[in-house]
Amino acid sequence: MWWRSASFILDHRLQEDPPNDIASSSKEPDTLSKLSPPQTHSSFMAAADPFNPIPNPKISAYYQTRAAHTAVVTSDWLAQAQAAVGHHPDDSPAPQTQLLASPSASGKSFCVINEFNNWRKQPDLAEAVAAIRALAAVIRASEATTMMELEIELKKASDSLKSWDTTSISLTAGCDLFMRYVTRTSALEYEDFNSARSRLIERAEKFGEISCKARRIIAMLSQDFIFDGCTILVHGFSRVVLEVLKTAAQNKKLFRVFCTEGRPDRTGLRFSNELAKLDVPVKLLIDSAVAYTMDEVDMVFVGADGVVESGGIINMMGTYQIALVAHSMNKPVYVAAESYKFARLYPLDQKDMAPALRPIDFGVPIPSKVEVERSARDYTPPQYLTLLFTDLGVLTPSVVSDELIQLYL
């Protein structure tokens, strides 16, 4: 808001031309003279502000994971981007330091990150589930002799996982939920260590199982909402949404799908490929054609990177505008998201979250003076969403907070 305010202009002038400020700000002298030169000097705003050059041009780890999992053309331009940036993503500093910092990793051959990476290689396994599996392995491999020790070790492992990729919401949320779920048993209080430990492992396994099954459950729940002859608009490549549509196709439902192209990583292309394999009629749209086609659409289906406390979602860039268009045309917007994506975040607006940056290839060289908005995801507020399909059931956005409060408090 502030950047379109009059005082902001004054601030700019203040910044450029300090001696002039008393004259220019005579209206609010007290305020302005005390207001320090804003924005550009503060690191936080610099990171969040699209108008500023991005200080650290590293590609977010979140985006790498996404790209590796979902995109068609990513591998080559990811390599390009890496070459441009100059360092390999694997030797990005965060995991390294964490590995050294974690005593469990240094002392033994076992390491959470390696374990996590092993699990992550499975194409169908979500990042959070991989993390959950890795954490379960931590318990199994642990040589701790007291409950406290084990808990601390687990905490360390989850912290190192979280810091491995701070931008991934589902990873953080998955780790948090695992900790809540596994360690919050009253049974631990009065059992001997070994049985308590096996109980923890049991719970961890169960949690992993549930998380694995989540997609199936969501696909089942959503079947009632897909009716014969409907047209579904899909944005991004979401494995849950794919599962939903796959199940619908198996149930002999007749529907067609519109896929947005999903620039720049062309996730829509791959999604349409998958759907074509299922013999579902599918049509590709360029991202800017959403409003044009919206009147034909019966419902919008999107996945989510994270579901936040307000009931809104954080998802691939473009979801917000699709939701806005759908809302203004009274089309339902359905979100399919596993409950391990529920995060205790509450963004108030688009800039109120850690940005996940990605490279964008425009095909032509961009002059250095031109800035590029490179954020990979946006926040869709809850009032534009109709329902969330989760493995906890079909929820309205306001129930998300209910579930989160019960999970975390």
Partner: protein, 669 residues
């Protein structure tokens, strides 16, 4: 975080299974029992959930029933592979053998005690089973402020027919306000059923809901009048809730038949048939808010009152139910009484005087002052002979509370604190000696103050500061202690931001805040509320305090807050309300009229020190002039982006969740 929460393990089968307990798909459709949502005694919360979950989940049909047969709100009903997505039939839970008709879903579980009474006195075959419900529902004051809109509108359709049908059998039924009805059936049928099965079909009558609360009230009044005329004792427990008059059936129906289709209320029963439940209800029922337009009760209250208030003239018609007094008249009188022997403890007396004079204001300050006064009073308390501490102390506290209430109407947060204290007194172990019990209570109060107010504020500050970024322009209205702490803390952290303080007459509390903030070196802008629409476009966040947050997310706060929130919403500026969880209340309020406080009317008609603009001098006694100085207003939840509370940052829709999980039964600590 909270030791109490430790027992709520996810593995406990009695607890509602959330999170990763999604049952296998086939089972999930059958809808497992949902203890939390079914046992909620709070119809307001239930309604909100139902409203929020309008499209997906089936309406929580048996929210009031402890039977546990209802569907979980998060579970969808069995799959129906048709194209209809929004309207699905409500799957009925298995009907108990007692209930032959699906009609009785909601009330069936209250049968048991009614049936006993009925079987013992066959004359009471038209015994009003609403009694059973009233007992359950009345603990929530929400009932009294629940307007007609709260009812399912479908219930209206069936209303006129059953009313007449019922009059013929001289049974008039009540539906407690706030009771959500989702299924409407013909009541005529149920009446016939009744003749066949007098005992079993009791609950069937529950259907006749009439939507209009207005009508409800009128009918109640009529019924009361009739009852009074007959000389039967009027039970005055729940003034706003279901009429509990012991009118004879014939009499009770007369007004209702006069009222024709609108009359549904008036409980008809045999005199004395329900003495014990009546008493129970009296105990359970919240202290009814006094309606100051009810002349007889005002007279009665006046006789009891310590504070002799003179009532203001020319009160605004719409707000006659609120107390309004001439300000400044009672203080000298009370001060002179200070040294008289009085049932009121001197410390409490002092706090009361400070309330009147306005020396203590602000929700937290008033609440802390009150609690500390009670602490002192408990310290000096000794149980009289032949009395028990539990009862006598409660009575004492009650008298203090009513004294304080006369000085200035209690805020909702204070009501919560009082409920907490009384609950603690009631739960004292009998084995404790008097001194132990007193120490116990004092430490409880201490703990309440430190945990629920002071620590809560710290947590709120911690949360809210994360939402302040460099370069922000923050707007606040009036003077809220929580907001002040947030701003100061953010400043200490070195964040670069600017503050806009919007203030309003007559209290101009913002100036105090402004003074303190400027003193700490924050850059501030001061504006009157008239300028809010001008200033709003440069604001990035609005931080507001609250006197209370109600179950539907309505923020009850200093007058002007709603205006600021609305303007902010219009400008798409996020509105953050900072409120400690002890101020949450399960009541639902839709407007600022039903419950509010009236300030001194002179304060708005005069500007002190400005003789030149006191245009109203001399007209204030005119019959045609009515001055309204409201103290609070209600901000609808639509205008609130986030509520920052000690349980984290939650959307306004989650207030009932917190009330349900933490504030019920005044567990608090």
């Amino acid at each position: 975080m909270d030791p109490r929460r430790a027992s709520r393990t996810v593995s406990d089968p009695k607890i509602r299974q959330v999170g990763f307990f999604a049952p296998p798909p086939d089972r999930s459709f059958s809808g497992p029992p949902d203890p939390i949502s079914t046992s909620t005694p709070n119809p307001a919360a239930a309604t909100t959930t139902a409203a929020a979950a309008n499209t997906s989940s089936p309406p929580p049909i048996s929210d009031l029933s402890p039977s546990g047969n209802s569907l979980s709100p998060v579970m969808i009903p069995p799959p129906r592979h048709s194209s209809d997505t929004t309207h699905r039939p409500v799957p009925f839970p298995p009907v108990s053998p007692l209930r032959r008709d699906t009609l009785s879903l909601t009330v069936g579980s209250y049968n048991n005690n009614n049936n006993n009474i009925i079987s013992s006195s066959p004359t009471a075959s038209f015994y009003d089973e609403s009694k059973g419900i009233t007992v359950k529902v009345s603990p929530t004051p929400a009932a009294s402020s629940f307007p007609g809109g709260g009812f399912d509108l479908t219930a209206v359709k069936a209303s006129s027919v059953p009313a007449s049908g019922l009059t013929t059998v001289s049974v008039v039924k009540t539906l407690p306000p706030g009771f959500t009805e989702t299924i409407v059936e013909k009541v005529g049928g149920s009446v016939e059923m009744q003749n066949d099965l007098p005992a079993n079909s009791k609950p069937l009558k529950e259907r006749t809901s009439k939507a209009e609360r207005r009508a409800l009230q009128e009918a109640q009044r009529a019924a009361k009048a009739a009852a009074k005329a007959e000389g039967s004792k009027l039970s005055a427990t729940t003034s706003g809730a279901v009429a509990s008059a012991n009118a004879k059936p014939t009499k009770a129906t007369k007004p209702s038949s006069q009222k024709n289709d609108s009359a549904t209320v008036a409980s008809s029963e045999k005199k004395g048939g329900d003495r014990p439940p009546e008493k129970d209800r009296k105990k359970d029922a919240p202290h009814p808010r006094m309606q100051y337009d009810d002349k007889s009760r005002v007279e009665k209250a006046k006789r009891r009152a310590v504070v002799k208030q003179t009532e203001a003239r020319n009160r605004v018609e719409l707000f006659r139910h609120l107390p309004q007094y001439e300000h400044g008249t009672q203080l000298p009188d009370l001060e002179s009484k200070f040294f008289q022997l009085d049932p009121v403890h001197p410390v409490v007396y002092k706090v009361g005087l400070q309330y009147i004079s306005g020396d203590i204001s602000g929700g937290n300050a008033r609440c802390i002052a009150m609690l500390q006064a009670f602490q002192e009073a408990i310290k000096d308390y000794s149980t009289p002979d032949e009395k028990t501490l539990t009862r006598d102390l409660t009575a004492k506290i009650n008298s203090y509370v009513s004294f304080l209430n006369e000085c200035r109407p209690l805020s909702i947060s204070m009501g919560n604190a009082i409920r907490f204290l009384k609950n603690r007194i009631a739960k004292l172990p009998l084995t404790l000696s008097e001194s132990e019990a007193k120490a116990f209570l004092q430490s409880d109060i201490e703990q309440f103050i430190s945990e629920k107010i002071i620590l809560a504020d710290k947590v709120i500050v911690k949360h809210a500061v994360t939402k302040i970024r460099d370069g922000d322009v923050l707007l606040t209205h009036g003077s809220s202690s929580a907001v002040e702490m947030i701003l100061l803390h953010a400043h200490e952290l070195g964040k670069q931001f600017r503050v806009v303080i919007v203030d309003s007459r007559p209290k101009l509390e913002g100036q105090l805040l402004l003074r303190r903030l400027v003193g700490k070196g924050l850059s501030c802008t001061y504006a009157n509320i008239n300028a809010v629409s001008y200033i709003m476009h440069e604001v990035t966040r609005v931080f507001l305090g609250a006197s209370s947050v109600l179950s539907n997310g309505t923020v009850y706060s200093r007058v002007g807050t709603a205006c600021v929130a609305m303007v902010a919403h219009e400008f798409r500026v996020p509105v953050l309300v900072c409120c400690e969880a002890y101020k949450f209340h399960e009541r639902v309020q839709l407007d600022s009229i039903c419950s509010n406080e009236l300030g001194d009317p002179d304060a708005i008609s005069k500007v002190p020190g400005r003789e030149d603009i006191n245009y109203l001098d001399g007209c204030t006694n005119s019959e045609n002039l009515q001055l309204l100085n409201l103290i609070y207003d209600a901000t609808p939840s639509d205008y609130v982006s986030m509520i920052v509370t000690d349980y984290g940052m939650v959307p306004p829709t989650s207030v009932p969740v917190i009330v349900r999980e933490y504030c019920r039964d005044q567990v608090w600590i």
